[in-house]
């Protein structure tokens, strides 16, 4: 990769990462997106804004999150040392809150009294409801009816936090449909509403600003690796649905040529069955939800229904920067299926006493294959993007246990 670009210089002014990204929305939203991009451009290097963001991350979220050496699991796998970036220890239990803190600060600066969000697993919905409660903002969260069913605990958490959860019954009743409905809400209430998108997808400037807010993960991991391991890691592994936890870990390392990166998509029942959620592994470029990116679509450009045991990865698209990094060959995109993820979920719980989110378990499942191919003087950092409490009912149901 001698000709690699300076990764920190992207996206361009209109939100493009090569052919990917951009701003594909109906005209009614163009003004609001231009305003948001301008506001972010003005605030991102503003010392007061940075200080407010850093303060909240330290004192409200509890950062920095630890970089934990999983000694027992590393030894068991018999290869590279495995380090877990403990985003599961954040307030609300996942990396999502890093972004909602940032976007809520933007909403405050723009004087919007109401926020909306889409959510899949419910982690982003909870993180949004949390910051909305703290800032006294009205909050409505769109969630696919199927996800409302399989993530009941998070639905109740959002309600307790004062948010209204609106089940979405159109289409496949999952994350993509929740995003459609949130867009429809925003186009109707654009004057008083800030749309807090939960991942690095959507129209410009969302993939940029969500990435920037999530980069705290990678910045910390870089510093912690140098301090605790005495060197940069040899490999990074993170799960990819929309891809915000992955880009947050990867981005601060992209210009470090020696660091290999693995983005792990959800293979569901297996890529070969067609029942999966792995657009980078088995899709092609198209336009959905405001950006050009790899999508799961049929020959007519209709979006295909996805499948994953993990609601947070059950999405037919992916952040446009990932599409670009795939085509450039900078990041390796691989996949883990439902069974592998569930097995890794159990293994980490039993070997390290850490119960991971099913999303993060996809990253663990791939790392489990990668580690034995590497040597004990090498280091892998896995983004443990969320904790598994929310998934207990799903896993129990698979075990045949009813509550």
């Amino acid at each position: 990769m001698s000709e690699r670009p300076d990764f920190s210089a992207f996206p361009d002014a209109r939100g493009h990462f090569g052919q990917f990204g951009g701003c594909f929305v109906s005209e009614t939203l163009m003004g609001a997106l231009d305003d948001l991009a301008a506001m972010y451009e003005r605030l991102k290097d503003d010392p007061q804004f940075r200080a407010d963001f850093d303060y909240d991350l330290a004192h409200y979220v509890g950062r920095p999150s630890p970089l934990y050496l999983a000694e027992r699991w590393s030894k068991q796998l018999g290869g590279a040392k495995i380090w877990l970036k403990r985003e599961d220890l954040n307030h609300t239990g996942a990396h999502k809150v890093n972004n909602t803190i940032g976007q809520a600060l933007l909403a405050k600066h723009m004087g919007k009294p109401r926020v909306i969000a889409e959510t899949g697993a419910g982690q982003h919905g909870v993180a949004t409801a949390t910051v909305a409660a703290r800032l006294g903002l009205k909050c409505q969260v769109y969630m696919g009816a199927e996800d409302v069913e399989r993530q009941k605990l998070n639905v109740y958490r959002m309600k307790l936090l004062g948010a209204e959860v609106i089940p979405v019954t159109s289409g496949s009743k999952t994350l993509k449909d929740a995003m459609n409905e949130a867009m429809r809400d925003w186009v109707t209430n654009v004057d008083d509403t800030f749309y807090i998108i939960g991942t690095v997808a959507g129209p410009h400037p969302y993939p940029l600003l969500v990435r920037d807010f999530q980069c705290v993960i990678g910045r910390e991991a870089r510093e912690q690796s140098l301090k605790q391991a005495g060197k940069l890691p040899d490999a990074l592994v993170a799960c990819v649905g929309g891809g915000s936890n992955a880009i947050g870990l990867f981005h601060p390392f992209l210009n470090d040529d020696g660091v290999a990166m693995y983005g792990v998509e959800a293979a569901g029942d297996g890529i070969e069955t067609g029942r999966h959620a792995a657009p980078l592994s088995a899709g092609r470029p198209g336009v959905l939800h405001g950006n050009r990116t790899y999508l799961m679509e049929d020959d007519n450009g209709q979006i295909i229904e996805t499948h994953s045991v993990s609601a947070g990865l059950d999405y037919p698209g992916v952040g446009p920067e990932h599409s670009w990094l795939k085509d450039l060959g900078r990041v390796n995109y691989v996949s883990a299926d439902d069974k592998e993820a569930l097995s890794a979920f159990r293994e980490l719980t039993q070997v390290e006493g850490i119960m991971p989110a099913l999303e993060s378990a996809h990253a663990l499942a791939y790392a489990r294959k990668l580690a034995p191919t590497m040597s004990p003087d090498q280091d892998i950092v896995i983004n443990l993007s969320g904790r598994g409490d929310k998934d207990i009912l799903t896993v129990a149901a698979i075990d045949g246990i009813e509550f």
Binding site: R14, G22, C23, F24, V25, S26, E27, T28, L29, M30, G31, A32, S170, G171, K176, D177, N180, M183, R184, V187, T188, N189, V190, D191, P285, G286, V287, L288, H289, G290, L295, E297, D299, N300, G301, Q302, I303
Partner: protein, 267 residues
């Protein structure tokens, strides 16, 4: 001269305004669409906007979302839509047809393939809801080469600078979205629309069609007084939803609505 331009020129000479109905192609079945297009012309339609069904119609309200679902349920493809236009052209060589939809189905075919096939089928223009002019730099020359007009939206939130940009990027007509919301939303405010249309006229040269929120003869008449054309969609699609298995009832109900609009607009 292209069909859309000559249509607006002829209407201007007659001091009449364009009546522009929208239906989703393949709703409620593939067989319904072409006879319905002819019926709409007979009832007074000047231009037809034909929806290309998409799985994720983000800018549409529930009425047109369901129309897309009905059309996709029996596999209406973009090729099917083009075949419908071709069949329509066997009997009608005058009425402009604009395909309205989302970018992804067009990208899936490829810009050149799509433009060539659309032009050969007799399509006159395309309106892609999620394609603002800034992202249309690549597709526009391809559409131009096949003499297809690109119709862009102008919204209540569009700045003056953007209206100028859109006016230069588009051809055929501009589609003014009368309210902040999705298709089929609550009623529009005619005074507000009148003010905005006036602003657009001062900044752009194209005829202005107004859509979103036009439900009946009264609202069509009021909007036609302040614009060059009236687009009606959800009010018609509702009739298809009410009679999905009865093409004759669909044709009659939609024709009745359009005839009443035509009559009110021409008074």
């Amino acid at each position: 001269m292209r069909r859309i331009e000559s249509c607006f020129q002829r209407l201007a000479e007659q001091k009449r305004k364009a009546l522009i109905p929208f239906v989703t192609a393949g709703d409620s079945s593939k067989e319904v669409t072409v006879p319905l297009m002819h019926a709409m012309v007979e009832a007074g339609a000047d231009i037809i906007e034909l929806g290309v069904p998409f799985s994720d119609p983000m800018a549409d309200g529930p009425v047109i979302q369901k129309a897309c679902e009905r059309a996709l349920a029996h596999g209406t493809s973009t090729h099917d839509v083009l075949a419908m236009v071709k069949e329509f052209r066997e009997r009608d060589t005058q009425t402009p047809v604009v395909l309205m939809g989302y970018l992804n189905p067009v990208e899936a075919l490829g810009y050149e393939n799509f433009a060539k096939a659309a032009s050969q089928a007799g399509v006159d223009g395309i309106l892609l809801v999620d394609l603002p002019p800034e992202e249309a730099l690549e597709i526009k020359p391809v559409m131009d080469a096949h003499e297809l007009d690109m119709i862009f939206l102008v919204a209540p939130t569009t700045s003056d600078a953007r209206i100028k940009l859109i006016g230069k990027a588009g051809s055929g007509y501009l589609y003014y979205v009368s309210l902040k919301g999705v298709t089929g939303s609550a009623s529009l405010n005619v005074d507000e629309v009148a003010g905005r249309v006036e602003t657009i006229r001062n900044l752009a040269q194209l005829p202005i069609g107004v859509g979103f929120g036009i439900k009946d003869a009264e609202s069509a008449q009021a909007v036609s007084r302040v614009s060059d054309g009236v687009v009606v969609g959800s009010a018609l699609v509702n009739q298809i939803a009410a009679n999905p298995d009865n093409p004759e009832a669909i044709n009659k109900a939609i024709s009745d609505i359009l005839a009443a609009m035509r009559n009110a607009m021409d008074q």
